[in-house]
Amino acid sequence: MNSGSLDTLVLSVTALRKTYGAHTAVDGISFDVRRREIVGLLGPNGAGKSTTINMLLGVLQPTSGTIHIEGTDLGTQRVKALSRTNFAAVYSPLPGNLTVAQNLRVFGLIYGVKGLSARIEALLEEYDLKRFRDTKCGVLSSGEQTRVSLAKAMLNEPRLLLLDEPTASLDPATAVDIRTRIKAFAAKGNSSVLWTSHNMYEVEAVCDRVLFLARGRVLLAGDPKTLPREHGKASLEELFIAVANEPLALERTEAP
């Protein structure tokens, strides 16, 4: 599944595996994410998406396999690799007892952002957070907190942005707004995005490519607009349900 020349690869995952005793959460997956690409990591609950994201963030050690971010091995050069990465996850909000500006300043220092004050101002403007500058994050609405998390995730202008269900629990209007911002981010620079979501409409609208995970393995991969038809399904949602309910049947379809 690895493809693309090295200079265009932002993320390269090879034979990544994570086991907990007898249970295999991620079973030797390999994939790449290229520059300016938005890749959707899809799959039913327990498929191994968050485990994969945690390994990419360096907070979970793989049992085996390698992760390279812009050619830097995360296992051996963690600091360098993570300085090019950032993330936002619905289950990991920023500390609610700090204000928006305080959180951005703290994480800006930790990510070593140059010209931090100017960068914070630009992000407050870009994510429509100026009026919340001195508001504690804990009192913001879900949508506002997501915007703060995204602003934090953009602090270091990451080459690899990991988003774990960034629009979960948001109303449709806010979700569209967030999706637009992320698409603009990927389109304008040298960055790429790995995105997990259970909203298939959103995935089809945003992602250039999707990877379907089931039981810790990449079952299907391809263009979200054509993949359903290739597997005899009417929509991405139908394909998702098939992956969730009949992964073995789909695995046989994929086998050479």
Binding site: Y20, L57, Q61, V79, L98, V106, I110, K136
Partner: protein, 267 residues
């Protein structure tokens, strides 16, 4: 070590103290109460015992030093607990921050918070109860240094304990200073203790400090070399505590405990 990373961790703690007065009060309230309580106690003891022995530098001075040690330790662990309480591990550890930088940020916080407690104690004990450090002489600085280093070591070890056993194990950490105080002879000479406790005392750096305090107050001579053992032990304890913290962190990353910390265990 990247100083910006260290500053980020320390700045987070500063914002927390700045934003909530309830966090600031404990920095000086409990130690101030201790000074008042033991200040009057030493006055009373001076009035009912034979003339010639001054309990103020022996007892009040010892309580001041012990409270300073406890503030150093709690200054570090409280900083760590803030990340536990706000479920902030994923945000903090999925960054280019190293473990040494993280702990250094907590140490900087502890220096600031314990200095506030120390200043309040010095102010109260000297102005209200007439505590003079003349009897300690130049040894006061190394006494404080040994207690500071041991406080840092114990703070790191306590944080490792909570990282390994989960948020509920915070309960184990708060009583640690009280648990150690009988062994290190804050209020009495080590010779008072049974032999096995004396052996434990020899492994604890504060024992050397409090033996030194009593010797100097009694007009005796206290060898700097003896305190040097205490200093060496405190430094060794920091190295050991750092090693334990790193081992526990690696375990947490390997087993998934760090990513699922709120579950308290990975089983």
């Amino acid at each position: 070590m990247n100083l910006n990373h260290v500053a980020g961790i320390a700045l987070r703690q500063f914002y927390l103290y700045k934003g909530n007065f309830a966090r600031v009060v404990p920095l000086f309230a409990w130690v101030a109460i201790d000074m008042v309580l033991w200040g009057f106690m030493t006055r009373y003891l001076n009035s009912v015992t034979s003339a010639g022995y001054n309990f103020v530098p022996a007892l009040l001075g010892a309580v001041l030093l012990w409270d300073f040690f406890a503030r150093v330790m709690q200054g570090l662990t409280t900083g760590f607990f803030e990340d536990v309480w706000s479920r902030n591990f994923l945000n903090v550890f999925a960054t280019p921050l190293t473990l040494t930088e993280y702990v250094s940020g907590l140490v900087v916080t502890s220096i600031a918070t314990s200095a506030i407690g120390l200043c309040v104690m010095l102010l109260l004990s000297t102005t209200v109860f007439g505590l003079s450090f003349a009897a300690y002489g130049a040894m006061f600085i190394p006494f404080v240094m040994v207690l500071f280093l041991f406080g840092i070591a114990l703070g790191i070890l306590s944080s490792a304990l909570v990282l390994r056993l989960g948020p509920a194990s915070e309960w184990f950490v708060w009583p640690i200073p009280s648990l150690l105080s009988p062994f290190v002879g804050v209020f009495y000479p080590l010779s008072t203790l049974p032999e096995w406790m004396q052996w434990v005392a020899k492994l604890l750096p504060p024992s050397y400090v409090f033996e030194g305090v009593r010797t100097l107050v009694a007009g005796g001579e206290f060898s700097g070399a003896t305190l040097g053992w205490g200093l060496a032990l405190a430094l060794l304890d920091i190295v050991l505590a750092g090693w334990v913290f790193q081992r526990v962190y690696r375990y947490a990353v390997r087993t998934g405990l760090l990513a699922r910390y709120s579950a308290e265990s990975v089983s």
